[in-house]
């Protein structure tokens, strides 16, 4: 009995730990992207304990039994943890790119998984004893991998220092007395110029909120993105200059220096976007996903919210389900993995959008004026929205057609409309400078003609007319110029 108990407890915790193997792999090498917190590690430990108990109970019941039902139950229990373990291993293989290319054949995964399921069922029916023996041996062989998972999880606690939330009283740091209008920049990840504008450089009629916004705004029609991907583009926006190349290390972002050396990337310099805002006397607010914004801008922001693209846990909310969802998000996208990954990833996208929308909706301060940058995770995939709201398709990561992307662009339009209406109702719309921009264009073809051309629309305080600027500009310097342009030196005698 004692032996049976020990085996059950060992295999129960082993199966639970195997499920979290992809998370352990991500923690060991890409912890920056997870914006990992001590609370996340505690959540994972709780989730592991929660999963281990029922697993141990099932193993306890099935282990000594030789019936088909016992073997089948053990196989069903093991299927997801073993699949998760295999997914984590496959990510680390040196020939991963070849596997990815092979896996592009959509039906292959389904046919193979159906074939394997059939083979397992046949083996269970025809040779139950052999099936049970092989399965038990397999479980024992892989069970010590749990030690790797637990060790990685324990070590991750020492590496959790990424700030994900900042709320502090505004610091007045204006270099000279200025009068500034509030500035709100809404940056939409992967919003394509060519999905916003038609061939005559008019906003597409189906994007009604953007059309209305654009009717009294300035359209910068030749703005180049600082990079083809967020990792390259966003640091340039934050630095207010073009950053050559960004690399992610455990300790944070590194940029390529003039002699190709790697230097620590500093987004909080006085000449950066937020350093400039501080110097002009703005209160500074940033909300975004993907980059560790609060860590990057800690010295120069008053309010910050930062979300990971991969870690679904949100600051201040304890849930043992979150690490399970994070692990599913880290799974490969193809069938059969996608069946569980897609709903988890879709829900995570909705969570990020809701959080960032709530952040964007915060009251717009006029005194001292606010500079707020919000980096939305849409219309970037997963594609889960259409013009009417949250409506995820079966495969929200599908890029073979641009249909899902175009649907999500329509939601971006709706979201902009809702935000603008709210600011109109609050009486701050006219007095604020509002910028709608993107970090780069759509990367998967469709209508896209140049992923480095980005939409950049600016409604300045008091602006009543549409204007167009066709001169070539760089997005990162233009945004800083707009910020500086929202301020003026007061006239002598105190007149405003």
């Amino acid at each position: 009995m004692t032996r049976r108990l020990v085996i059950s407890a060992w295999l129960g915790h082993g199966l639970a730990a195997l499920f979290f193997y992809p998370l352990a792999v991500a923690l060991s090498t890409d912890i920056y992207y997870l914006q990992w917190q001590t609370a996340d590690a505690i959540e994972t430990a709780a989730a592991l304990a929660l999963l281990a108990s029922p697993c141990a109970a099932v193993v306890f019941w099935a282990w000594p039994r030789s019936s088909r039902a016992a073997h089948g139950t053990l196989a069903l229990l093991s299927a997801v943890p073993l699949a998760s373990f295999a997914a984590g291993v496959s990510r680390q293989l040196p020939f991963q790119r070849t596997l990815i290319a092979a896996g592009e054949t959509g039906a292959l995964g389904l046919v193979l998984s159906a074939g394997i399921a059939l083979a397992a069922v046949l083996a269970l029916v025809i040779r139950p004893a052999a099936f049970g023996r092989v399965l038990r041996r397999l479980l024992v062989v892989v069970s010590p991998v749990s030690l790797v998972v637990l060790t990685t999880l324990a070590l991750s606690v020492a590496r959790t220092d990424a700030a994900v939330r900042i709320d502090r009283e505004p610091v007045a740091a204006g270099m000279t007395p200025r009068i500034c209008a509030p500035v709100v920049a809404l940056l939409f990840d992967e919003l394509s110029f060519h999905y916003v504008y038609d061939r005559d450089d008019q906003i597409r009629p189906e994007l009604k909120a953007l059309s209305q916004f654009g009717s009294d705004a300035t359209h910068y029609l030749s703005v180049s993105a600082p990079g083809r991907e967020t990792l390259d583009a966003l640091p340039s926006f934050l630095a207010g200059r073009r950053v050559r190349e960004i690399e992610v290390r455990d300790e944070g972002l590194m940029e390529r220096g003039p002699e190709s050396e790697l230097l620590s990337f500093d987004a909080s310099r006085p000449d950066g976007l937020f350093g400039t805002a501080r110097a002009l006397g703005f209160t500074t607010e940033v909300g975004g996903y993907y980059l560790a914004y609060c860590d990057l801008l800690d010295p120069v922001v008053d309010v910050c919210r930062s979300r990971s693209f991969y870690n679904v846990s949100a600051a201040g909310e304890f849930s043992a389900v979150d690490p399970i969802r994070t692990t599913l998000v880290l799974w490969p996208r193809q069938s059969p993995f996608g069946l569980l990954k897609h709903p988890a990833f879709a829900r995570h996208q909705r969570g990020m959008v809701e959080d960032l929308t709530a952040f964007a909706r915060r009251p717009i301060r006029k005194q001292p004026p606010v500079f707020r940058l919000v980096h939305f995770s849409i219309p970037h995939l997963p594609f889960v929205y259409d013009g009417d709201g949250y409506d995820p398709p079966v495969d929200p990561l599908r890029t073979t057609s641009d249909e899902e992307y175009a649907r999500q662009v329509r939601y971006v339009d709706r979201l902009i409309g809702e935000l603008l209406s709210e600011w109109r109702r609050a009486g701050v719309y006219d007095e604020a400078t509002i910028v709608v921009l993107a970090d780069h264009g759509y990367r998967f073809g469709g209508r896209e003609r140049d992923p480095l051309q980005i939409p950049f629309i600016v409604k300045r305080a008091g602006q009543r007319q549409r204007a167009e600027v066709r001169a070539e500009r760089q997005g990162e310097t233009l945004l800083k110029d707009i910020l500086e342009g929202a301020c003026r030196v007061p006239e002598p005698g105190g007149a405003r």
């Binding site: 991500a26 090498t29 995964g109 193979l112 083996a123 052999a130």
Partner: protein
């Protein structure tokens, strides 16, 4: 038939999961890292739990290492 089924299932499982991998089409695929060595090592330990011959080999290997140090 016994050996075929015995071998076929694990082989097919491995093939499925390896061939099935596909890009997430996000910016990075977290986890393209290196827990492989630790994982492989612990699985050797697991083999030792199952197969007596492997257990004996591991023990002999450790003994040889210890005698070399002396």
């Amino acid at each position: 038939m016994y050996i075929r089924v015995h071998v076929l299932i694990p082989v097919l499982v491995v093939v499925l999961f390896l061939i099935g991998e596909r890009a997430a089409f996000a910016y990075v695929d977290p986890g393209t890292g290196s827990l492989l060595y630790q994982t492989a090592l612990t699985m050797v330990l697991g083999l030792g739990l199952v197969f007596r011959r492997v257990r004996v080999s591991i023990a002999e290997f450790v003994k040889r290492l210890a005698s070399r140090k002396r």
